[in-house]
Amino acid sequence: MKTMKIVKPALSIFTMALFFTACSGDSPEIDTEYPAIDSTAVNAFPIQCSEIKRGEKITFRTKFTDNAELGSYSLDIHHNFDHHTHSTEVNDCLADPIKKPINPMLYINSVTIPAGQKSYEAVQEISIPQDIDPGDYHFLIRLTDKEGWQTIKGLSIKIL
């Protein structure tokens, strides 16, 4: 009877140990890193609080990196007249008063990054139409890597 009392807790502790060491086995190498959007370069555009003029052509320029392989990126320019959204950046820009949209600009585009790239300089020309509403806009960059990890950067810009 007394030996049983020792055997049973010992047995349970042993099984528990087995239980928890079982999980520390080697697992296959998988990518768990997010890609990165780097707008620190001197010629990166737009950046937080950039101002753009209607009727002009702007050049989007940013550097993307990933530990394994980049996937694609999408750009999305939409109005923020209702202040519905904010940026991912630390500093805020001065916003115009809230107003109703009449003919706001909407730009959505996506680009597949050539296969096998760990680093990629994205360059894209965007025409800003003359007849759109001026005001606060939001410039959203979404970057994925090949495995589907996604990083988002939201910039506040102004169209004059």
Binding site: A22, C23, T32, S74, H83, W149, K153, G154
Partner: protein
Amino acid sequence: MYKTKLNRLPMICLLLFCFITISKMSAQSVRVSGKVLSSDKTSLEGLTVIIEPGNLIAITDKKGDFYFTNIPKQVKILKINHSGYFPYEMKLSLKKSAVLLPDIFLQPEIKELKEVVITDHFGFRRKKEESLTIETVNSSFIQRNLGGSLMQSLQRIPGVKTISIGSGGSKPLIRGLSFNQVIVVENGIKHEGQQWGADHGLEIDQYAVNRVEIIKGPSSFMYGSDAIGGAVNIKPVPLPSKNTLGGSIDFTGKSNNEQFGGSLNLFGRNEKWFFDTRMTIMDYGDYRVPTDTVHVYNFAVPLYKNQLRNTAGREMDVHASTGYVSEKFKTVFYASNVYSKSGFFANAHGLEPRNVDTELHDKSSRDILMPFQEVTHTKISNTTVFQIGNHQLETQLGFQKNFRREWSHYVNHGFMPPIYPDTMSAPKDLERQYDKEVFSVAVKDEFSLHKHQFTVGINAEQQQNDINGWSFLIPAFTQFNAGLFAYDKMQLNELWLLHGAVRFDYGKIEMEQYNDWFASEITENGQTTSQFLKRSDDLTRTFKSFNWSAGVNYTPGKLSLKANLGTSFRMPIAKELASNGVNYHYFRFEKGNANLAAERSYQLDLGMEWQANKWSFQLSPFFNYFPNYIYLNPTSQHDIYYGAGNQVFEYEQSKVMRYGGELQTRYQFLQNLSVEILAEYLYAEQLSGSKKGYTLPFSPPASVLFGINYSPQIKNLKDTYFSLDYRYTAAQNQIVPPEKKTASSNIFNLALGTKLKTGQQDFIISLQVQNLLNTKYLNHTSFYRLIELPEASRNIILSVKVPFLISKSN
């Protein structure tokens, strides 16, 4: 000789003193044995029998038998104090060396009849008679561990977790599987809500739950499609006893989200007719987390007073059942309506992380502003049982309606007009609406033939699903399912029990075409045209499946072993076949795959249990393989039309291997002090497809819970307990996009409670402090994990139950 050492070394003294006591006892020892039965002569398992003085204890086995060996002759009293039964006491006079006591009959307490009918012993018996891994809990377990919703209250059970949204909604996660891979059965009928959505809670009133059985493994052979990962079976409330009229009142208050609520139950029965009614009301404010800033993806969101903006909610449920009971015939009608309205965390809903009017939102912590969800679930059913000779025939008819609306400000994306047109029939703020109606019918016959206990049955279900709202994710559809099954339980002898089951299923799903209500500009070959895009096609798919299960139980005394091998299946759902829209909670574009095959699973379950006088030990490992697991794969693409540049997630199928298990052990140190260890582990890996080598989403990390329970005997109080749980959850580093690695956590929960008797009135009081140390930690399986939202801060929960008896006659 001992004495000299005693003076010098107190430690050794103690040990040796024990030794002396033991040797003394064995010198003039007696063996006492007996049997405990309830008044209806069923044996009571798992009861504690106490002999005094000396506080010697024994626990009854499955036949209600207990025995004491080596007890001193001078003991005087045998006591049994078990929740739900009148306390029992017997004077002992031990003259012989072996005493066999006459059978002991315990009388149930009438007032609590409803909680009592099933107590621990039932769970023990079920476990030994089923070859699958089954856990059974009753309403007192729920009261002790009361969480914001039924599934949160059951989380203490190893292998059972939840995917929670806010403080009032959650869905079951059994061994890492959830959504349509786990079915919930209430009163014998499969609960059909919108279980495919991570943000959709389970529409069940936890106060109305008396006993829950959780099957941790595939159980398609019993329940058909969807039971591939497990089943949560909420059993009907036991019938009131004859000629009684009574009820109970429950009050609950929670500090974290300033919740108050309660439930009123009233039941009665004459000889053969009975009724049972319940009404539950709950109201709660925004819940609090131990942080002042949340990072929604990369967007920092400051929180006011640690409150999670707009997570308040309310719930109102009504239930009624009535029926007729006689020896050979029983019919019960159930009707219930569960309504809830709760807010979504305002900063994390929409096309992108949003800025909100903080002044408006932070004005009150109790208001529910947009975005919010509103769900009404109505159920009407009848269960009728006939006893014809050797046969027990059961018929079930059911109707359910799940009406779900998600309200949110109109946000145009893609080519949707910037201002919502007045001409639209759907209200401006109605983001989505799902309206499901289900008719179900089932017939089952149970009969025994020699050593065989057969169950054969047939069931069918017809669903109609409509949609509405300004956004689109899944199309409207109709669905028909039918199944035919046979199950044989064969008692070879006292030790061996065999199980075998076969089931054939047929399913058909018909999806309706859906076109956008707005025109999109499409550029093809340099020509730009304006088109109302088709988002989903008319599509009909049919599925057939044959499944089987075989198991064995071997129970030689204290040890019991079991094994089960079986297949299970699941029909792809409308979301997997035809979704084509933005999931506003996760800022992603989800795309269905019309060619998906039915998901199939093979699982081996093993079980080992050891129950001794003071010990119990249970280990339940499993191995599971899916040749074609349906998986929502994050791609590297973005959708630039309706998806507004969001990342595309597409349904795919891959081979998946999963294994793991749970361990439960308990030791009764003293009559009133016990400790337990509950542990769980799960590993999942995709063996093929685009995410080969990755795990599955929402894989719960390994965890172990150490619990200590002290239940002292205090005058005028009954069933008093103090318990402290410490849960260590390991880090989860096995992730798949878009998940994040979750660090380990250490959480303490404190619980205490008692039953107070003043005059003829009982008060059952329980108090819980969840997250005692106010630890900031993340839960890997929380709906809000992706936005780095910590779990709720310290929460004090007080609940009081007052059972009452209005009249009782014999």
